[in-house]
């Protein structure tokens, strides 16, 4: 009983130190939530595309295109005076794509029955493909009555202007009755679910920061170990085993508390659907075990506070990036995917995605949980042995 009380006391010391440290609170709570909000607000949604537009000379086509772009969902138009300025803007990423309506657009349409709109895009990233497709949709839409007018003018032998007036009258501006309606459905494990925009970033930051906090807060352990406090505590009746158990429990509780806090804020403030409660809880617990093991390991081998303080955030960020907490692992090149599998974050992210997006249950993530549990247990055992050795040796 006494031993349990001593271990619990040790846990509380660890937690009290963390809570009193306002910087630690910023990094454990405020920063992850700020990142979830910023990235979620700016990227989680459908996303707005900024399109640069140059109209070399006012024309009917230019007016139609401008009107259609102004109505398009998620498209913001920025006007430029010359194609050169637009080129520079595209290259500087001020806009994601550029459209150039040539001076002779109307004349080309009247003369040849077709006009080309210049498209400026950079590279072949997935964003570029999406922007390009969106603009193609806009151009096809604007071109529909124009094409109809060209066709009718040829068939009936009337001037293009007259045919265009009739085509506009026949066209259905809403694209509704008479046209084809386009609807979108989200697909997730047999149920249609509309997960919110924060559902992408919340698990990423949960995993990333739980681990970073576990590592960086290990400076407390290094300081206690190096200054001899831990060794002095050995002289007390509690003994080494109790001390080690208290340390492990402290770090585990720290990771757990931070995870629970992020999960709660995510669920309450941002409506993140964390999925099956039992499976999600087990996932939080197993990853907290991994964080606990990693933190203890740093505490056991860290040479001095300064160096641990400098290195651990970098290690935490690199491992997080490799495990898919910054860029989703689905788009990793194959060689990096091999590396990702060595990182616990990867398995945690995989499990969270199954829970959140596929509505999966415990069975579906059992494999991921097993990997995390084994990794966590191994880390805790190795760290405890190393800590024991360095304490007994007085290092």
């Amino acid at each position: 009983m006494n031993r349990l009380r001593a271990a619990t006391a040790f846990t509380f010391v660890v937690l009290r130190q963390m809570v009193q440290d306002r910087t630690a609170l910023f990094f454990t709570v405020a920063l992850p939530i700020a990142i979830i909000v910023i990235i979620g607000t700016t990227f989680g949604g459908e996303g707005r595309i900024r399109v640069g537009l140059v109209v070399e000379q006012n024309s009917d086509i230019a007016t139609r295109l401008e009107d259609r772009l102004a109505d398009a969902d998620g498209v913001e138009v920025v006007r430029y005076d010359t194609a050169d300025e637009l080129r520079r803007a595209v290259r500087r990423f001020s806009v994601e794509a550029g459209l150039v309506v040539p001076a002779d657009a109307d004349a080309l349409l009247a003369g040849t029955g077709a006009a080309g709109i210049g498209l400026l895009t950079l590279g072949a990233s997935e964003d570029t493909v999406a922007v390009r497709r969106t603009l193609q949709g806009v151009i096809d839409d604007v071109g529909a009555p124009l094409g109809a007018a060209v066709f009718a003018a040829t068939q009936a032998g009337v001037p293009l202007d007259e045919a265009l007036a009739r085509a506009d009258a026949a066209a259905d501006p809403a694209g509704g009755a008479g046209g084809i309606t386009v609807t979108t459905t989200d697909v997730g494990d047999g149920i249609d679910r509309n997960v919110g925009r924060f559902a992408f970033t919340a698990p990423q930051n949960l995993v990333l920061f739980t681990f970073i906090t576990a590592l960086t807060s290990a400076t407390v352990l290094v300081r206690a170990r190096r200054s001899g406090i831990l060794r002095r505590a050995l002289a007390s009746p509690t003994g080494l085993g109790v001390q080690l158990a208290g340390m492990a429990a402290g770090w585990f509780t720290l990771c757990l508390l931070q995870s629970v806090l992020i999960v709660m804020v995510g669920a309450v403030a941002f409506g993140v659907p964390w999925g099956d409660p039992v499976a999600a809880s087990l996932l939080v617990v197993t990853f907290a075990l991994v964080g606990c093991g990693a933190g203890l390991l740093v505490g056991a081998i860290g040479a001095n506070e300064d160096r641990v303080g400098a290195i651990t955030p970098i290690v935490g960020m690199v491992l997080g990036a490799l495990g898919g907490c910054m860029v989703p692992a689905e788009i990793f090149p194959p060689s990096m995917l091999m590396v990702a599998r060595m990182v616990p974050h990867y398995w945690a992210m995989r499990a969270w995605q199954s829970l959140i997006f596929d509505g999966a249950g415990l069975g579906a993530i059992a494999g991921d949980l097993a990997v995390l549990a084994v990794a966590g247990a191994a880390l805790v055992v190795v760290a405890t042995l190393l800590m024991r050795r360095s304490l007994l040796a007085g290092r």
């Binding site: 910087t23 910023f26 990094f27 700020a34 910023i38 700016t42 996303g47 194609a83 595209v90 290259r91 500087r92 990423f93 029955g113 077709a114 709109i117 210049g118 498209l119 400026l120 950079l122 590279g123 997935e126 493909v129 999406a130 497709r133 949709g137 151009i139 096809d140 839409d141 124009l146 094409g147 109809a148 007018a149 066709f151 007259e162 085509a167 009258a169 026949a170 066209a171 694209g175 008479g178 046209g179 084809i180 309606t181 386009v182 609807t183 979108t184 697909v187 997730g188 494990d189 047999g190 679910r193 559902a199 400098a310 970098i314 690199v318 990036a321 490799l322 090149p333 995605q353 997006f357």
Partner: protein
């Protein structure tokens, strides 16, 4: 003149001490390099991805079959979007199953009677969903064009015969997108993330100056330094010079290594060096000011770290060159935003030294204003 020499002596001593302490080396060199490289490899590898989109034809009419065939035929011309027809009974369920399993990112379902199109998308792959939606929109527009063509022809007295319908369907589109060369160079992820992480870590490197004053005051070595002929100004200048050199050296290392590793120079070298210097100055100013507000080294550490991350978040260090509108506005308030925008412009050859003069001015201004405020405060701390 004598004070200047003393400042250089202080700088030399400070720099030697920092290089002996390996954590400064980690922060100045290893941190930005490793994160820059990891980000570049992950993001750089992402561009080769293919969007997998299924096509389900519930209508089965001649027109819908033709649409499906034309989509599949387009596969040969494009690398990044691949359409897969899904046939047989329960095609829609099959499409959903394959999206669920991750084989497909989205599916386009042509409805019975061909009067509706449903896009099924995987919420985990929003971009594929967006691509599928615009393909659906294009199909709808194509259909609309044929419908309006026939209707318009009819109002002009031409009977809508089967030939007219067929001709309308076969007519080429009136508006097309024509690719135009953007010129310049494509932004290299190595250059962008290298610069981005170098700027982030600069806060920690150059923040050392004000922090070390606080630390030395606590340990009592500051009083001893003040007993020498060096004035407080010279001591502070020396400490700042040493961290500026360290920060600049880290920046240059990241520049050289990412240029060689990813085979992509950052742009006009003179402009790059000028921009690095201005960035180091700006960050040194802000970091000195922030650290000067603290009462102890620990507080200064904390304030610097928090400022570094908040400015990096707002400045777009973690986001990439293509900032969403809100961040685009906020980033103007940060040295990170100004620096990254100009590094991007230099890297893509969209700008040279002349075009980034505004950025250089703003960065230098930030450095001077915040630096002056910080120095006044730190001097007061030294003499207290």
């Amino acid at each position: 003149m004598r004070q200047l020499r003393l400042a250089v002596v202080v700088a030399g001593a400070d720099l030697r001490r920092r290089l002996r302490n390996r954590s400064a080396v980690v922060v100045a060199f290893i941190g930005p390099l490793s994160l820059g490289v990891v980000f570049s490899v992950l993001v750089g590898g992402a561009s080769g991805r293919t969007f997998e989109i299924g096509v389900v034809d519930l209508d089965g009419s001649a027109a819908s079959t033709e649409f499906v065939a034309s989509l599949v035929a387009a596969n040969a011309e494009q690398d990044q979007v691949r359409f897969t027809p899904i046939e047989g009974d329960g095609q829609r369920s099959e499409a959903r199953r394959r999206i669920d399993e991750g084989d497909l990112g989205a599916a386009i379902v042509l409805g019975q009677g061909f009067d509706s199109i449903e896009v099924l998308r995987d919420p985990e792959q929003p971009v594929t969903g967006q691509v599928a939606e615009s393909v659906a929109q294009s199909i709808a527009s194509g259909y609309e064009r044929v419908r309006v063509s026939v209707a318009t022809t009819a109002t002009l007295g031409v009977t809508p015969s089967a030939e007219v319908m067929a001709a309308a369907g076969g007519a080429p589109p009136a508006l097309t997108l024509e690719d135009r060369a953007v010129g310049g160079r494509e932004l290299s992820p190595g250059a962008f993330y290298g610069a981005s992480m170098a700027v982030l870590f600069l806060f920690f490197t150059v923040g050392f100056a004000a922090r070390s004053v606080l630390a030395e005051r606590q340990t009592g070595t500051l009083a001893r330094q003040l007993a020498t002929p060096a004035t407080p100004g010279a001591i502070l200048a020396g400490k700042t010079l040493s961290v500026a050199v360290l920060g600049f050296a880290g920046f240059v290392t990241v520049w050289l290594v990412t240029s060689v590793l990813f085979g992509s120079p950052w742009g006009d070298p003179v402009a790059v060096v000028a921009l690095m210097a201005a960035t180091v100055l700006a960050v040194a100013g802000v970091a000195t000011f922030v650290a000067s507000l603290a009462r102890s080294e620990r507080q200064a550490d904390a304030a610097t770290a928090v400022t570094a991350f908040v400015l990096a978040l707002l400045g777009g260090n973690f986001v990439g060159p293509n900032l969403p509108p809100l961040l685009r506005r906020l980033s103007v308030l940060t040295p990170n935003g100004w620096a990254l925008r100009s590094f991007t412009a230099l890297n893509t050859d969209a700008a040279g030294l002349r075009e980034i003069l505004t950025s250089l001015g703003v960065l230098t201004g930030m450095g001077v204003v915040f630096g002056a405020l910080g120095v006044v405060r730190v001097r007061r701390v030294m003499l207290r």
